[in-house]
């Protein structure tokens, strides 16, 4: 069954009227896939990721998540889905300063319906899953770039989402740390069957995916298994 199904998505921004960021994008993603969306700068790949992650809405077209059109969801329901079914990993990590790794990973649980008694176990196992157990009490300022991104991945994992969206997850890392982060994501996909959709412009990163969707000028230029 398709976890994600998009049909003829179009996105227009007011300031670039006539030149859509996305123009007739259609594809399906099944549960358990690791998909890389690639494309040059300004191609619309980040816009696509934001729409898929419920952070933005398409100007036209249809988007079905888990078989249900997102048009059927209210703003609060979309927030709930972002919390319970989606995990985000950002290029800039977006960890809260003055909050330890533990506190940062806990953040999504504050907005969740997960019973409080389960929180500690989930937080610790998420942090362990990214190999950051020895840094659990450290603040972001005390972590390396790779460790920061691993903390961000742990934060995305803590609510046990159906899908993880990663926007240039290695963009701020050197090649060694970038590769380590990709290995963690690959491992999550392989062993825990998490669906992972990542946006990148680096071919070396895209090669970790099982499927590559290439976007150019707001259109899908190619969609192939690797």
């Amino acid at each position: 069954m398709n976890l994600i199904e998009v049909k003829n998505l179009r996105k227009d921004y007011g300031e670039t009227e006539g030149v859509p960021a996305l123009n007739g994008v259609s594809f399906n993603i099944s549960a358990g896939e690791l998909v890389a969306i690639m494309g040059p700068s300004g191609s619309g790949k980040s816009t696509l990721l934001h729409i898929l992650g419920f952070l933005d809405k398409a100007s036209s077209g249809q988007y079905f998540f888990d078989g249900k059109s997102i048009e059927d969801y209210s703003e609060d329901e979309l927030a709930k889905i972002r919390n319970s079914k989606i995990g985000f990993v950002f290029q800039a990590f977006n960890l809260l300063a003055r909050n330890s790794v533990y506190e940062n990973v806990k953040l999504p649980l504050l907005y969740s319906s997960v019973p409080e008694g389960e929180w500690d176990g989930r937080i610790r196992s998420s942090i362990e899953a990214v190999g950051l157990g020895h840094r659990i009490g450290h603040d972001p300022a005390q972590l390396s770039g790779g460790e920061k991104q691993r903390a961000a991945i742990a934060r995305a994992l803590v609510t046990e989402p159906d899908v993880i969206f990663a926007d240039e997850p290695t963009g701020n890392l050197d090649s060694k740390n970038g590769e380590a982060v990709m290995k963690i994501l690959t491992n999550l996909n392989m062993s825990l069957k998490h669906t992972i959709i990542l946006v990148t412009h680096e071919e070396s990163i895209a090669k970790f995916a099982g499927r590559l969707i290439y976007v150019k000028d707001g259109k899908i230029e190619s969609d192939k298994k690797i």
Binding site: H50, L55, D56, A79, K80, F90, R98, N99, P108
Partner: protein, 412 residues
């Protein structure tokens, strides 16, 4: 977000900028401190004045000449000559005012007194022997004058402690003679220091028989006041009605609006004083409240800065599941916590300063100033500071909650 985590999140947000948070709440602290201080001092002043009024006895009714002053131009009225001997005679008849126990005439005015080379400007208070009971005055030295000395026009005087100190210093005064308006008076008693009682300060007075005061000092045949003591507190209102009827008949007045006298009970006086001090307190509190508005604007300003600074955090929270309402509640609570902490600090400081002032007034001025913590003002202070947080925090909080998560995440 669950409420307890909302609190911890808000406190963490404020704790990130401790000095800024402290400076932000100063306006609220100053405003609430000022309000508590003003209300506490107002209450203390009211208590002091009321206790002094009550020093005259709760059953005492005062009859004064002229209309009741309703403005500065009416004050000359109280020196009119409408209260005459005939009025005393009529009021003294049991069938006219059955609940009146005593009717005491009073005349008073400022006069110079001298002893040897010493002179002192004092208040000459002419009345009869019963006035000492009404004001609960007992001599520190010597005796008080009697009915026979009043009726016999005897030039005797009982002086207050300040008069004694000014004219005699540490020397004995009883038995000496002082001159008041060219006439010699024999000092028969000295009153102890008593301070203000009702509107009278007996420390600076010389109490003499009213018969002598009328003839030899002021040269008048009328009275400045009648002090009428009712037999019971529950009869005061009835006695007041009877007094008014008798005086209107005596003065041929048919329209109560044209009364040439006014009657006041201790309750009336207390109520009037209470109203005046309440209005003054309200005025001062209103001025102090301006600082609360200024403080509130400061809170709004800082919260707007905080929203801008934490734009990325807002974007992140929204991307991981925070609803607009969660963000609004978080920033609103931060503003309310800021102002409420300011309110609590203000209440503490206001209570502390007003206590210090009460101690200073008691120790240095000898006033029987009772410290009173204005509980109502404290409750109001907390409520007002919370409301200020709500009012001035809502705009920044709404601004935060409406941020587009993608734009917020991209914010640098």
């Amino acid at each position: 977000m669950r409420t307890k985590f909302l609190f911890s999140t808000s406190l963490r947000g404020l704790g990130a900028h401790k000095s800024r948070s402290f400076l932000t709440i100063l306006g609220i602290v100053i405003g609430i401190t000022a309000i508590i201080l003003v209300m506490s001092i107002g209450q203390g002043a009211q208590n002091l004045i009321l206790s002094q009024i009550q020093g005259m006895g709760s059953k005492t009714i005062v009859v004064a000449p002229g209309r009741q002053p309703s403005g500065p131009s009416d004050f000359a009225q109280i020196f009119s000559d409408s209260l005459k001997k005939r009025d005393i005679d009529l009021l003294s008849l049991k069938e006219n005012v059955p609940y009146a126990k005593h009717i005491i005439p009073v005349v008073f005015g400022g006069e110079n007194s001298s002893y040897g080379d010493e002179t002192y400007r004092m208040t000459v208070f002419g009345s009869d022997e019963r006035v000492f009971d009404i004001f609960e005055l007992f001599p520190e030295a010597g005796v008080l004058f009697s009915e026979s000395e009043v009726k016999g026009h005897q030039p005797v005087v009982v002086i207050g402690s300040t008069v004694k100190d000014e004219l005699f210093g540490d020397s004995e005064a009883v038995g000496e003679r002082i001159r008041i308006k060219g006439k010699n008076f024999r000092i028969i008693g000295v009153l102890p220091k008593k301070g203000q009682v009702s509107f009278f300060n007996f420390d600076t007075m010389a109490v003499i028989p009213y018969t002598v005061a009328q003839e030899d000092i002021f040269g008048i045949k009328y009275y400045h006041r009648f002090l009428i003591e009712a037999d019971q507190e529950s009869h005061i209102d009835a006695a007041v009605d009877d007094i008014k009827i008798v005086l209107r008949n005596s003065h041929n007045i048919t329209d109560p609006d044209k009364d040439d006298f006014f009657v006041e009970t201790q309750a009336d006086l207390a109520s009037r004083i209470g109203t005046i001090t309440d209005i003054l307190t309200l005025l001062l509190v209103s001025i102090a409240a301006i600082s609360l508005v200024v403080g509130g604007i400061g809170i709004m300003n800082i919260m707007l800065v905080a929203v801008t600074e934490r734009t990325k955090e807002i974007g992140l929270r929204k991307s991981i599941g925070a609803t607009n309402r969660d963000i609004l509640r978080q920033f609103l609570l931060e503003a309310i916590v800021l102002t409420s902490v300011g309110g609590l600090v203000g209440i503490f400081l206001g209570a502390l300063f007003s206590f210090i002032i009460s101690v200073v007034l008691t120790k240095t001025l000898g006033l029987s100033w009772s410290y009173s913590f204005p509980v109502f003002a404290a409750v109001l202070g907390i409520a007002v500071s919370g409301i200020i947080g709500l009012v001035f925090g809502i705009y920044p909080a709404r601004k935060a909650s409406r941020k587009n998560p993608i734009e917020a995440l991209r914010y640098e």
